[in-house]
């Protein structure tokens, strides 16, 4: 297959934004066009738009041609929206990769956007209940917080994980977000003591354990290998990508605390990329909740099963540890605009390889990095491995 390079990225500012869905996307597009050397809008032959619920949150469907119009591109090969809930953005990148690797596309934009802060918060939350099996799980009040709360309860019970260990993850990711002006929680400090006594959302998860409802957009440009040097001197090469799903209704989840789908997707990624967990210096993972990041350390193979809480508390996932996790600030620090999150992770990896991120979060010399998104009740896992050298 043809090699594929991610050559440029752009982001809107993320947060509670006085801006519409389309305006957020235009902000991200403007930054991408400014960052991509020699990019002419006519070069772009394909557009993949990651957006989880524009029908419910922006009352707009058929969003891909709308996005093309806003970005000033006229795709001649592929144009479509990609929906995979919280993984919509990374899945858009995966589709762009497939299109270019196959030779059917040469220059593709993968963008992601979500406008989640509506006049009524309850209206947005109601739409989140559609992500699980609505008629059988959502109907009882099943949304992300109570689901991941049950994961935390069982992880604490089975492995002795503590609320304090979970808070360590939140403190780390919020600290990293303080070096990221695009993050929702930029320039806001979170003390561990405050996180441990904050309001309960779904026990044992407090507000500091949860990512936020966020407005934001992102865009990345992917091209075939022979075109990469036109747009940048330092691309992020897509070394491998993988995805796995094994259930949807909560009744059919084998274990709350061992995410078999992530184990399988990680094995596939490492095999295709001819590497292993011990050789990943940098990972952008899906910390929708603090407990998610802890389970992900384990099922990505960064530490043994059950040792994720200890791994965080010992600083193993921080700068100077065995793998730096979420230097961008993660979902906890940056916020989680569903469709844009995976794009934001990829922009971070490119910035790390190009050494354009601030020193406070730079992982010096990282030769490869992985990005991970779960979606729904951790029933789908989407992974990409990037390398500095092709």
């Amino acid at each position: 297959m043809r090699k594929v390079a991610l050559v440029a990225g752009g982001l809107s500012t993320w947060g509670i934004r006085p801006a519409t869905w389309g305006e957020l996307l235009q902000e991200a597009g403007q930054e991408l066009f400014a960052n991509a050397r020699n990019l002419d809008a006519k070069d772009v032959d394909s557009l993949f738009v990651g957006a989880a619920q524009p029908e419910r949150l922006a009352f707009q469907s058929h969003v891909a041609p709308m996005a093309a119009e806003l970005l000033g591109v006229r795709p001649s090969r592929f144009v479509r929206r990609v929906e995979l809930a919280c993984a919509s953005g990374q899945t858009a990148i995966q589709d762009a990769y497939v299109a270019i690797a196959s030779g059917l596309s040469d220059v593709a934009l993968a963008v992601g956007v979500e406008k989640m802060n509506l006049p009524s918060m309850a209206e947005a939350t109601t739409s989140m209940a559609n992500v699980l099996d609505r008629a059988w799980d959502g109907v009882h009040g099943g949304t992300a917080p109570p689901f991941f709360a049950m994961v935390a309860q069982r992880h604490m019970m089975e492995y002795g994980t503590t609320a304090e260990q979970m808070a360590t993850v939140s403190v780390k990711n919020h600290r990293f977000a303080n070096s990221n002006p695009k993050a929702q929680f930029y320039a806001k400090t979170f003390a561990k003591e405050k996180l441990l006594t904050g309001p309960m959302v779904s026990p044992p998860l407090r507000i500091g354990d949860c990512s936020s409802m966020t407005d934001g957009a992102g865009a990345v440009l992917l091209v075939g290998e022979e075109l990469a040097s036109k747009y940048t001197d330092t691309p992020a090469w897509v070394a491998a990508t993988s995805q796995y799903t094994d259930f949807h209704n909560l009744a059919n989840m084998a274990s709350l605390t061992e995410w078999t789908g992530l184990r399988r997707a990680a094995q596939d990624l490492y095999a295709r990329g001819r590497t292993d967990a011990a050789h990943i210096p940098l990972a952008e993972v899906h910390d929708c909740f603090t407990i998610s990041e802890i389970v992900e350390y384990e099922d990505l193979g960064f530490c043994p099963k059950g040792a994720g809480g200890k791994f965080a508390a010992e600083g193993q996932s921080d700068l100077g540890g065995s793998v730096v996790v979420n230097p961008r600030g993660g979902l906890l620090g940056c916020g989680h605009p569903l469709g844009a999150t995976g794009i934001g992770q990829a922009v971070e990896v490119l910035g790390q390889f190009q050494s354009t991120v601030p020193a406070a979060r730079l992982v010096k010399g990282a030769s490869q990095a992985l990005t991970h998104n779960l979606s729904g009740s951790a029933n789908v896992h989407t992974l990409t491995l990037y390398r500095r050298e092709s």
Binding site: T125, T126, R134, W136, G142, T143, P146, P199, S202, L250
Partner: protein
């Protein structure tokens, strides 16, 4: 059976009658106080939720079987903040995964009768049905402590 009283967009409950679904018997069984699901006669797999073809063998030799009405809490939490529209009045409600007897089936449900703070993993719960307020019927579990 009656129709939903609010727009379907904001209505969480499944449409129950035979004009809307092929598993209408599930809801008829609820009315009779039974918790049932489908089982495949070909490979003995028990499904949740009930299906119209077997996802394992793709056959349609399915029969209705009763599930245990008594179970144990496998995991649980409560809806404290961020409740969906239509559930604003349910703050504090407990939800959990219930292991149904020795059936090997574990389902998600609302749990009534005790506060979050007064429950433990392993506590006994029992199936019950309730009227959704518009003539439809649904299920939940109640603490047996």
């Amino acid at each position: 059976m009656s129709a939903p009283s609010k727009p379907y967009l904001l209505d969480f409950y499944p449409l129950e009658d035979e004009k809307q679904t092929r598993i209408a018997p599930f809801f008829a069984h609820l009315r009779a106080g039974r918790l049932t699901t489908t089982k495949c006669e070909a490979d003995s797999s028990v499904h949740w939720p009930p299906r119209v073809t077997c996802p394992l063998c793709h056959g349609n030799r399915l029969v209705w079987v009763d599930l245990p009405k008594e179970g144990k809490l496998y995991a649980f939490s409560a809806l404290v903040l961020g409740l969906p529209m239509g559930m604003e009045g349910d703050a504090g409600a407990v939800v959990g995964m219930v292991e149904l007897g020795n059936s090997g089936v574990r389902i998600f449900s609302r749990i009534r009768g005790r506060k979050y703070e007064d429950l433990r993993v392993g506590d006994p719960v029992e199936f019950e049905t309730y009227d959704t307020g518009d003539g439809r019927v649904f299920y939940r579990f109640v603490s047996k402590l």
